[in-house]
Symmetry: D2
Subunit: 144 residues, 4 copies
Amino acid sequence: MAIVMQQGALTEFLAREFAQVANDFSVTRVEEDLLEVRLNVADRHLRPGGTVSGPSMFALADVAVYLAILSRLGPVALAVTTNCSIDFMRKPAAGRALVAQARLLKLGRVLAVGDVLIYSEGTAAPVARAGLTYSIPPETKGGA
Amino acid sequence: MAIVMQQGALTEFLAREFAQVANDFSVTRVEEDLLEVRLNVADRHLRPGGTVSGPSMFALADVAVYLAILSRLGPVALAVTTNCSIDFMRKPAAGRALVAQARLLKLGRVLAVGDVLIYSEGTAAPVARAGLTYSIPPETKGGA
Amino acid sequence: MAIVMQQGALTEFLAREFAQVANDFSVTRVEEDLLEVRLNVADRHLRPGGTVSGPSMFALADVAVYLAILSRLGPVALAVTTNCSIDFMRKPAAGRALVAQARLLKLGRVLAVGDVLIYSEGTAAPVARAGLTYSIPPETKGGA
Amino acid sequence: MAIVMQQGALTEFLAREFAQVANDFSVTRVEEDLLEVRLNVADRHLRPGGTVSGPSMFALADVAVYLAILSRLGPVALAVTTNCSIDFMRKPAAGRALVAQARLLKLGRVLAVGDVLIYSEGTAAPVARAGLTYSIPPETKGGA
């Protein structure tokens, strides 16, 4: 399925629709097989010890797959997260951004499924992985 | 396994160790079979439309099971979330607190497992459910 | 939502539609809040050491929530499992049946969500827990 | 981490330790980044309509990651599945084998995490994906 929203359009969409969190995230790659989002780590994302919190990693995984869906369906998409299974595997490196690489595995009539690997920027071993499912409401089919 | 930290001790622990988020949560019940935590919903937890965000519900589920473990192991526990599978089932009611009811299903030597139901306060149908696993580092066994 | 298929009707449905596995399972309770299914453990369910295999526990969890959905929607339901997250928490007791207790948490227009605890018969601590999601095809709405 | 058991050794291990199911599976590739296992579909794996059953796909995902761990730890490994989250995304093609491609994402001191994509042989879109966690008992460290 073709990409109908590129990096710039996704960034604008985030800023317009999710103003509260838009500055947390940068869309860094939008490709057929991969959408990459960066978490610009700030104090509010940290736990004692300087580690990025679980909820911040969850938010990053969620936004990455959400944007991957949006990149195919266009700006009217109102996909709703219905399930996320996330594994926290390693402690993120202190003082580094996190990068999520999301792949869309299914974009069906009512459900979309994607998975994500999250890395500390510049590090080879992933800190987390997640699989997410989204429900796509009927009115968004056929896109904008 | 006996409860070694009650409501007051857990609240103090949150305030001391997780100052950034401690005001988000109130520990409302600590029982053998159930630990209840309330998310005091504020603007920063909301998405457009006034719905509590997924990451905020994830954070609530996570803290509820974490505190359930702590209530048995005592204040030295440094359990680390290793997995969470969460289902978002209904849109939370606007303008209401969320309440998480957590049960500990296993508290083993190296792993603890709990599950959680999240409700809009005063509502019978759960908005989310989650199962979480925590790794318990060796040094915390036998706890303070 | 009212129960429209009771224990006998569910058992007949299993025998008719899932003849290959119907003898593995006995529906033992059908209540508003709880559907209970027993795995009649045979050699084909065991791993070396006499432990019930993971896939057999998965099958038990799956059939229990599936039947809970069926008990509300009637015999034409063709719900399809879309996600299962299962935690294996303890080794099942050798030489005992397994019992799954399933609750339906959501029965929506397109998705149903249930969770399950699995016990070795006569034992208090659960051996596994699972959360499952089913997609309900449009043609089954309004039931038989 | 180096591969210490290749295709032949893994196949022998399955035949010796899991005789009941060994014929169901063929280890087809063992590489640094990928272990591939084929489910030799037989009647016992099918549901009405000729579709491979959910429990058979679960079993395939489980064995694939298990063998990926074994390929690094050697034949004494007694890893135990503690969690699996599996998404069933498409109906498997009738009359075809299923192929699971597993990657090991973490092989830690106490936990290993892998993920799997399952395909109908010769088909590009995956029918299922799964993430699995295994607990590694202390006695197996340093392996045979």
